[in-house]
Amino acid sequence: MSAAVHVSGVGFWSPGFRDAAAWLAGARDPSVAIAPAEILPPMLRRRASALARMAAEVAVQATREEAAGLSRAPLVLGSAYGEIGAAVEMMREFQTDGGMPSPTRFHNSVHNAAVGYLSIATGNRGFATAVAAGARTTAMALLEAMALLEARREVVLVLADEPIPPPFASDPPYPAAAVAFRLTASPVCSTRSRLTGLRPGRADADPFLGVMAAHPCAGACALLGAVARGDAGSVSLGGPVGSAWIVDVAPVST
């Protein structure tokens, strides 16, 4: 239902896995516990939520080939539950004496906090947005990015979700994880794959996903794997029965 876009950089972070290569190799490192997010100046980094830090980390990884990208590229964040950790922590604060939340936690609780922090750190005064679509979040954030690429050269697309905190924790549980794609309208030197045919449909689930299969952004993890392996074919981006989405991926040799 849309024109082709090109995957020209990827990023991944999850506790135990510092980047896409580590995750794809299954090389867990227990010392990887919080995303370094070195692009955030120390004062911002101290205030940023865990979700904002992992989003910043993967965005930097995906734009490593094009260092200036983050200061000018449109930013799209897809997240099913966003800053739910900050939101539930505020509810705890309402139960305490005084009943008032921390003002920093309040501004950190907005869905666009991660792209806000990233735009401040990089001086990016351009387009930034944050979207949500439940189990279809990966597909719909990709749709938003594809529509932007009708008129823009590149988009940095980040998918991120953290575990739902108690007392609302989900079953089965899933780890925090963030995935990023630098998408370009035309192929560039670093282009690895071409994406076409984003549409409703269902493809075979990726057996590689493991615990990530329960993650709201499982589709982004599957797409990352397909791009890294140079697969050709349809990738399931996720969604409930009857309204799931797929995209066709093909390797590009440059």
Partner: protein
């Protein structure tokens, strides 16, 4: 200029708005014409006093088919949706349901229900069995309720960027049409009052104890409100107005303070004009973000004057509805649309005595006239700015 241009924009073939002023566009327009505020003492249990704009009706439960998604957000959305549901059904017949997309903005989602579930948990150690995070709390629940009620079968999602959410939903809707990814898009937004935003803005000392007074010398904070607004955009067709442009920018300055020179605000307004191929002189009226907080109003006034000069009539409608946060931008786009359709700009409530440092032409009384092109601003946490430009039907 970007390639995403279509100077004459897209027709708005149906719209509906509901908030503290009334549950339908007609009631809202009547209150605006009479200069009647919907702000009242806030009924929420809070550690401070304030006013707010509560949705007026006793909200009936959602229909049985949507019972699993019941929430105050869903109830408000469904009541207001009545005003545009017929137009959406016509669009589904005309284009095919799968070509009708749904892009909505919300900042609160159903968090009011999550707060109640958390309170129950804090009191008795258990989350109520009826509470479902995906169907009450999650942003996607709003999409699901609207999709199921209208039958719109195209792609759909929620944009959530705090107080610019539903303006950015209009921007996304416009891009889906430009890219040919849909032939019609039901867009807009909904938000409810809740502890999170009342106490959150309270913690920032951004809430007035009384009804907010945007651009007034005595302003001391905003008032929050709740409600919904929906606009149906189509590739072509007849309607009361057209969406000419949606400018979007980032301040890249601070998470909760606007850039002191309003740099991002100006970028958003300029981008909206550029998309329409218009200069600032083409704009007849600006519906300001105008929250009533000291710094924000002064910065926005400076940005509007820098771009449009001192002769364009400006209003803040926050004194009527309160600040609808995630629903504010779509709501104020609908109010700007009412100015085009009904031929008046409402009085900017609470603005006297006007702040002498604000050199805007602020409408202190209702102003009749022909308004052909109107601009509506919304600025948000994270430095997220959106400016929506509407024009009269061609």
């Amino acid at each position: 200029m970007s390639g995403l241009e279509r100077g004459d924009g897209f027709p708005i073939t149906g719209y509906a708005v509901g908030n503290a002023l009334g549950a339908s566009s007609r009631e809202v327009a009547k209150a605006l014409a009479l200069g009647r505020s919907g702000l009242r003492p806030c009924p929420f249990e809070l550690p401070f006093e304030t006013y707010c704009g509560q949705f007026p009706d006793v909200l009936a439960p959602v229909p049985p088919s949507l019972a699993a998604w019941d929430s105050r957000l869903a109830r408000i959305a469904l009541v207001v949706l009545e005003g545009v549901a017929g137009a959406v059904e016509r669009a589904c017949r005309r284009w095919g349901a799968e070509r009708v997309a749904v892009v909505l903005g919300t900042s609160t989602g159903g968090i009011l229900e999550t707060e109640r579930a958390f309170e129950a948990y804090a009191a008795c150690g258990e989350v109520p069995a009826a509470f479902d995070l995906d169907r009450q709390h999650a942003f996607d629940a709003l999409f699901e309720v609207v999709r199921r009620r209208t039958g719109a079968g195209g792609p759909g999602y929620v944009v959530s960027s705090a107080c610019s959410s539903s303006g950015k939903a209009l921007g996304a809707a416009r891009r889906l049409l430009l890219a040919g990814l849909a032939d019609a898009v039901l867009t807009g937004g909904a938000d409810t009052l809740c502890q999170t935003t009342l106490r959150g803005f309270g913690s920032l000392e951004a809430i007035s104890r009384r009804a907010c007074r945007p651009f007034c010398a005595e302003r001391d904070g905003t008032s929050l409100g709740e409600g919904a607004a929906f606009l149906l955009l189509e590739r072509d067709g007849d309607g009361p107005a057209r969406l000419l442009g949606v400018g979007e920018s980032s301040d890249a300055h601070h998470m909760s303070h606007p850039h002191p020179q309003g740099v991002g605000a100006r970028l958003a307004m300029k981008e909206a004009l550029a998309q329409a191929g218009l200069g600032p002189e083409a704009v007849d009226h600006v519906n300001a973000h105008g929250t009533g907080t000291t710094a924000n109003d002064a910065i926005e006034a400076g940005a509007i004057v820098a771009l449009f000069g001192r002769s364009v009539p400006v209003v803040s409608t926050k004194g009527y509805t309160g600040h609808l946060l995630g629903a504010a931008a779509a709501t104020e786009a609908a109010l700007a649309l009412l100015s085009i359709e009904c031929g008046f700009v409402p009085a900017s409530l609470g603005a006297e005595p006007l702040d002498p440092s604000v050199s805007l032409y602020l409408c202190l009384a209702r102003r009749e006239g022909r308004y052909r092109r109107v601009l509506s601003n919304s600025f948000a946490f994270g430095g997220s700015n959106v400016s929506v430009l509407l024009g009269e039907a061609s």
